[in-house]
Symmetry: C3
Subunit: 155 residues, 3 copies
């Protein structure tokens, strides 16, 4: 287990673990927000979810889409599309031996940008707030990928 | 390569690898189930997919949504939303040196909950079957994240 | 840091890192293509995105779905559904000590198949081009999972 503890003792890897956990917890929060809006807006996708509101036609009217629910769902999917590349490329980046300060800068900008992206999406703030926060996270991931491909390319 | 084999020889890591592989294979099965329902229900999204059913108006009528296909797709997306955090947080958790029995408990509950979630979604079983299986998997991931953030926080 | 550099010096792991980065960059490209089609087709999901086109009814007509935008989004979701299992299972596979040539064969076929899948989806090429490229990537992931479960099962 010596190697494992040394791996986890590397400060860059610890920072990666911390920021990845935070941004994944933020993404998981989207599920709870979706459930909250589905219940307060009474807008469901599955017939079995509306059973508590009665039977037949009475329950059927809750099988509908709601703008607020759809907005949260778009934010959630955008998270998936952007956080998955960050986790994959970020792990390899953290193992490629970057300077701690550079790595921290990448991780902090990404996590900050994604949190701001969610706020901008759900409020909603006027554009280009959401667009710029998306671009900041995207640029961080590209920057890490660039380092990986220029230092350790193996085709 | 000594370090690599020691990494992969850790029992906790082997358990993580096994359960992650199983739950990802389960998620991949959703693609096949979607394809199966698309073909039996004749409900497609792309014009090129309906070419075998003839041309023009005859093929166009198969460009439609079907409740069963949409149900599988919702289950697939829910898998993505929940399995991605499990893989990311679970990897870091497995490397943080938890007791083997505790780790196995986390992995087994998560994989069991996600398999039951799929059964509850596709049957469909009455609520709160699906809701509770979703919550069980969610709670496992939160528990692993809590351990990570309380033992190895690096901001 | 000795162990980390040895980990990252393993040729199989380097190959995994390279191909994972490439396929994730390809997936990230889908976001840009979606944005491009949304702007050229003037088809948006959020009211705040249409503010530059004027106010009231004038802007509202751009809140619509467009076949080209939806096509890219389906390709993006298909990427997520297939690349996430590849990254998770591929990482564990790369750490399980496969022969370099076998590992390279797996990674190259997968990345090639996913790039061709995107071309087949966006052109669109007649079926079964897209279906076969999807199946090739799927088979690679199943093959890696099979090796993992037959050599290192720990339940």
């Amino acid at each position: 287990m010596a190697e494992l503890s040394q791996l986890i003792d590397s400060e860059v890897f610890l920072a990666y673990a911390t920021y990845t956990t935070i941004v994944l917890l933020k993404m998981m929060l989207m599920s709870v927000i979706t459930a909250y809006f589905r219940m307060t807006r009474k807008a469901f996708s599955n017939p079995e979810d509306t059973a508590t509101f009665g039977k037949g036609e009475n329950a059927k009217k809750f099988l509908r889409t709601d703008p607020d629910v759809e907005r949260v769902r778009r934010g959630h999917l955008n998270d998936l599309e952007n956080i998955v590349p960050f986790i994959g490329i970020g792990l390899l980046y953290a193992l490629s031996g970057p300077a701690l300060s550079t790595a921290l800068l990448h991780f902090r900008i990404f996590v900050g940008a994604r949190i701001f992206h969610t706020i901008a999406y759900l409020t909603p703030l006027p554009q280009p707030c959401r667009g710029l926060s998306w671009a900041a996270g995207y640029a961080v991931t590209i920057s890490m990928a660039y380092r990986l491909l220029t230092t350790g390319l193996y085709l």
